[in-house]
Symmetry: C2
Subunit: 404 residues, 2 copies
């Protein structure tokens, strides 16, 4: 088998953990597998490098930040190779230049475009474990780029696709994907399997188990992903095209996201182009809008409500205030005391009572729903932030997701 | 003018020094020059990385050590670019991959073979200061290599040659080349000029002002080197083909090297092949031999004396002891209490009394000469280590090298 194994920064934070990861990879190697390891920077290295940069120039250019940050993963892979050598196993470290990890030209948040797998295959065929820097790429100017936070997952998935790997194991500090955050919902259960689509919905809901693009890539190229813990030997959760989970399960999990704020643009003219002007203003500021709700026009005006990340609220309000006359709004307000609660499951496509069951659970708990957004395998409600944890628990129970 | 400026690790050890170097380079840039900056890793970074590696694997492979170490310079150049941006000047950092700094394939102590100057010229023509990682290269396997300690000087000289730079300034923590080490010879004088050949002799004598290969490269391509301090504004010492120094000066300086040991191989057979067997034994262990002296044969035997680095003495002795029967030696002894004192100067070629003047000075000071080695523009004596400093001072005086 050809296995790609990805370990995050906390898994290689110090000598002991590096040795632990090395030993774990060597087990697979000694079992006769070809092993490719993808690593992030050690522990808090990336944050420390960014702090160093900001100390020298608070507005450091993204190009130079990438040039700086990529050193972090390179340190990890070199040390890992040394650790494996010390254990008597041939290994070689490679960075983004050496595997020609080509990306789009944008710095700081680049998209992977392709990998030249030749060097890696050559090293694998020479009997070596190949250790590749995650998170980083090279653009068409031959400059380093980075893939954004969590980008090492994407590196791993892309390598698994390019190398036609049999599986891609993503090691994290959790031991799999849960039906809900176990810190909030104590009887949450670890899923043995989940579909790509469900995982994508979870990822976009702020469940930081897997980087979104890594799941997209895996889906596109049919890479079987396994999410598991680097600290335990537990099996983890398999992410694949179709899940063989028990028929009875309508949804796979519940997630809450508190990094949400609601913006109300009140009494804009009820005419074409208004929504465009609002969201174009935000697009120019690179602010992402999530859920949008538009009231039915009355007296020639309507209200537009939408959500943004809590961290973007101030900028959103000031951008809209500056464009108030162009938009023609009477009043613009922001509310940061809200949260998003979502249910995700491929079973929703065939079960028509899912929404009703969710609303009933929330109603019974006395939780008011302020906005609703539905997608094929996801349903999201916006509620007051203070009820977020309770909502998570009652919805989790309503769908019988917990352990017995 | 196109100026290459190289700053060592201590010159970029912290934020303040990085800002200082940035400001200094920007002065040249604002005067209308094209500026290429070569940097080493910050302060003790390289040592720290090596310590980290040895903690994980005391016998870390050179390939992986290079992969690890090159991150040091990359951090320096990225931070420097950010510092310059903060001062309002366009700048770009580049590493060995980006400038295709091609080297021989050996790791740890590689030789520069060529540079693709296209990217650098492109960035210079776009009006940027170009900041390049020193010390590192890429070999034909597309692996990182390093040029050995002091290799950043070589990077700077090679870039100056490839870019046809008008000058190459090497900034160090001394303000130039002195007639002798000022810590030992208080009235030592800074030279305004010195020839490549003299500088090469000084470098091979352990005067750590410039990396030897950087001088060789500069000589070959006619790059005018300037050695100056990053801490002061003093002029420094110019290294070039012919020095215009006053005619009266026979020698340019005196140097002592205490990292020397003498090995005596006593009463070997006086027949062809003996010396070969001795030095071949050492060559196989990669031990460099410096001065060799052979006694005149008597009773069919002779003695062979030679010097090695003090740090190589133990290995030398044990290698020779192991080969004792092959060599046919009666006795092998080592003496580590010796030192090398040398005078260097192109004037020696035309002045016949140089040797006499040196011996007279040593004789008057009661210092016994144990070995002598002469070259075109250098003369070296081996003396007891305890007299090394005194020898330096009396020889320095004998040639009137000091300040009045």
């Amino acid at each position: 088998m050809l296995i790609v194994k990805k370990f995050g920064g906390s898994s290689v934070a110090d000598k002991e953990r590096i040795m632990n990861v090395a030993a774990r990879c060597i087990e697979d190697y000694r079992d006769g597998n070809q092993v490719v390891v993808v690593l992030s920077a050690m522990g808090k290295t990336t944050d420390e490098l960014i702090a160093k940069a900001h100390d020298i120039n608070p507005k450091a250019s993204k190009r130079e930040l990438d040039m700086l940050m990529v050193t972090g993963e390179q340190v990890s892979v070199a040390l890992m190779a040394m650790a494996m050598h010390g254990m008597g196993v041939p290994a070689v470290s490679l960075n983004a230049f050496q595997v020609q990890m080509k990306t789009s030209s944008a710095y700081g948040n680049s998209k992977l475009k392709g990998i030249d797998s030749e060097r890696i295959m050559h090293e694998l065929e020479a009997g070596k474990i190949v250790i590749v820097t995650g998170f980083q790429g090279v653009n068409r100017y031959d400059d380093y780029t980075t893939l954004g936070r969590g980008g090492s997952d994407t590196t791993a998935a892309a390598l698994a696709a390019a190398l036609h790997a049999d599986k891609c194991e993503i090691y994290t500090d959790v031991d799999g994907v849960y039906t809900a955050d176990p810190r909030i919902v104590p009887n949450a259960r670890k899923l043995t399997e989940i579909t790509y689509d469900e995982m994508l919905e979870f990822a976009s809901l702020g469940a930081k188990v897997l980087h979104n693009r890594s799941v997209e890539l895996s889906k596109r190229y049919g890479v079987e992903l396994v999410v598991r813990s680097s600290l335990t030997r537990e099996e983890g959760t398999i992410v694949k095209e179709r899940s063989d989970m028990m028929e009875g399960m309508i949804i796979s999990g519940v997630a809450a996201d508190k990094n949400v704020a609601m913006v109300s643009v009140m009494r804009v003219k009820d005419e074409p182009g208004v929504a465009f002007r609002i969201f174009n203003t935000l697009a120019q500021k690179k602010i992402s809008v999530d859920i949008i709700l538009q009231s039915i026009g009355r007296d020639g005006t309507k209200d537009i409500l939408f959500t943004v990340a809590k961290t973007d609220l101030d900028e959103t309000i000031s951008a809209l205030e500056a464009a108030k006359s162009v938009i023609g709004a009477k009043k613009i307000t922001g509310d940061e005391h809200i949260a998003k609660v979502s249910i995700v499951g491929t079973g929703m496509e065939t079960h028509t009572d899912t929404a009703a069951r969710m609303f009933e659970a929330l109603y019974n708990a006395g939780i008011n729903v302020r906005m609703i957004d539905t997608a094929e395998i996801r349903m999201t409600v916006i509620i007051d932030e203070e009820y977020a944890d309770r909502a998570l628990r009652v919805v989790h129970d309503a769908f019988n997701l917990g352990n017995e």
